[in-house]
Symmetry: C2
Subunit: 337 residues, 2 copies
DNA sequence: CTTGGCACTCGGGAACACAGAGTGCTAGAC
DNA sequence: GTCTAGCACTCTGTGTTCCCGAGTGCCAAG
């Protein structure tokens, strides 16, 4: 149905349209790319491609524009992920290496990705569920309140103020801290609930109300926060772009964590580090936009996802290259720290 | 020069223009507001107002539009800050009361303000410099690394990983922690540098390299982070608005912490809780936009600033009311926690 | 199967006219 | 002196028309 030349024509259409943002016609095509055939032949191929739904014309007698299906074929079979230049790689490396803490890593990553792709970048904070406990700290604030601080191996810190049901002396707090750490240090966050389940019973009766309160706050922290935090950058790059959906809708979606999460999608369990590309209407949450995303994290433990969002008309090879590269570098950084 | 009626005309022009977004003419003015004079009289007044530079006409024979100077006069003398409705007050209160930690307070505040004003809201994180140390924690990660956690009375937590120059035993870390807390607990952050200056000398010689390293990281944290963090929300509200400056420029400015800081401006030392209104060209950093901002924090210790950014053509009384109300509520919340 | 030729279509820009809103000015009324 | 009514004038924005050109689809010949 689609011989090699037709595919070459499709590729050329996508490339030209992406770079010029104008419907591309048969004549220009035959000239700019050295297909060794005449415009008339190209026209025939284009008619076939349109028949199959890969391209469309905005109006009768205008050039052709790729459809979502056309981009899909292009991404799947006609393009190769474009690796970054050496200079870009070095820039990434030095920029990310300067980060001082987890917040900083994420902030730098999202800005970097936005700048590299000239699109909107989205980065999810490393998921707590796969992290492990590095330390639990209880800091007495006064005799009825303590601050609970949870530090994970990814450098993330969660803190909550706990109102105690009764006055508890500092020495007992200290003891409790020791017990908690002995119990939880190095354990996966997802195991925490079962690990602390019988903890009150192993402590003196008089401590139990306080312990129960603290544990409930601890568990709540784990559940509520486990992967909801997500940031974006590069909204300014939307200013030029034209979406089928309104600019307002895109900006609103960006500020809704829930929508953003859905956009990034789930890491497929079998190949977590594969690039996910969702094009236009394939994307149920925000139609008219494309998303290129991937998981990051070192090897076996995937931490979270990152990616970019842009108009359907984007340079997929370059974008995919940038996303993949940034994901690798940030994985390295996080594994090292 | 400007009698009462002329001022009333100016007020009417501002109000009409803000609500309709169209140049307002003499006829419509005389009808809609019950100035008891004819359009011709209004025209004379308008000519006078234009002469003085308070209004201008986009083209010959179009209605008049307020100038920055006109808005300024309106804000200073012709309008009253509009208090929020009871329903709005209750909504604010319940929405902010649900916050679980400082991050959450700030996030909720900025979203709330954006929604209330239908503009872009900007909130600066509570400044560290005026906070006091509530606790310093040193958590051994392994024998060459400790995590330094600094907790302030505003609930803010800063953490850094410190690479030690030599192996230090946990017991010595614990001792150091006790010394640090004894030295710093309850002190203002700005006093920390002098307080720790002679600390190494008061400790055993063998601890000094480690102490020096930890202290340098601590000081660095204070300096670098003291008030740079700032967030915004409501970018979607920019979609409809039209600025004299490009939308792209505004979005870029929003992602630059430094520019954002400048926009919010400084809290004037004498009346910290006063509303600051900077209109159009009065604003040197992003011309064509107006900023309504104020400091927040309870009474004597002002913590930081918050405000909104919007087009010059904004409803100043309502915006000012919302900013003031939100600032008060968030001050309350922070004072209580 | 490819190619050159040709008639056809449609969008977008230029030229133009026109209605309507709004102004400034002047002369008269209170 | 201040306000009002009337009037001529000046714009902008909109609708219309017209035309050019890019691009197509089809057909017949190589």
């Amino acid at each position: 149905m689609l011989d090699d030349r037709k595919l070459a024509v499709l590729r050329a259409i996508v490339e030209d349209y992406v770079s010029t943002n104008e419907p591309v016609g048969s004549k220009a095509l035959a000239e700019r790319h050295n297909l060794k055939v005449s415009p008339a032949t190209v026209r025939n191929d284009m008619a076939a491609l349109e028949e199959e739904g890969y391209i469309t014309q905005p109006h009768t007698s205008a050039g052709r524009v790729p459809t979502d299906k056309g981009y899909r074929l292009f991404v799947d079979r006609l393009s190769q992920v474009k690796p970054l230049s050496g200079a870009e790689r070095r820039a990434i490396e030095t920029f990310l290496a300067g980060a001082v803490d987890l917040d900083d890593v994420v902030t730098r990553t999202v800005r970097l990705l936005a700048q590299l792709t000239r699109q909107v970048a989205v980065v999810q904070y490393p998921t707590l569920t796969r992290s492990t406990v590095r330390h639990v700290e209880l800091v007495p604030l006064n005799d009825r309140r303590v601050m609970l601080v949870l530090i994970t191996n990814t450098g993330r810190v969660e803190q909550r103020v706990v109102e105690l049901p009764e006055v508890v002396e500092d020495t007992r707090i200290a003891h409790l801290r020791a017990v908690l750490n002995a119990c939880l240090d190095g354990c996966g966050l997802s195991n925490v609930p079962e690990l602390v389940a019988d903890l009150p019973e192993r402590l003196p009766v008089e401590d139990r109300p306080a312990v129960a309160t603290i544990l409930s706050v601890l568990l709540e922290t784990l559940v509520e926060r486990h992967d909801e935090k997500i940031v974006f950058a590069g909204a300014a790059n939307l200013a030029g772009a034209d979406f089928t959906v309104g600019l307002r809708d895109v900006l609103e979606a960006l500020e809704e964590q829930v929508v953003l999460m859905r956009l990034l999608g789930e890491t497929s369990s079998d190949t977590p580090s594969a690039l996910t590309v969702r094009i236009g209407s394939e994307n149920p949450y925000l139609r008219g936009t494309s998303v290129v995303a991937t998981g990051y994290g070192s090897g076996d433990n995937q931490l979270a996802r990152l990616g970019v969002l842009g108009p359907t008309r984007m340079d997929y090879p370059v974008t995919m290259g940038a996303v993949r590269a940034v994901a690798r570098y940030v994985s390295q950084i996080l594994a090292a720290s």
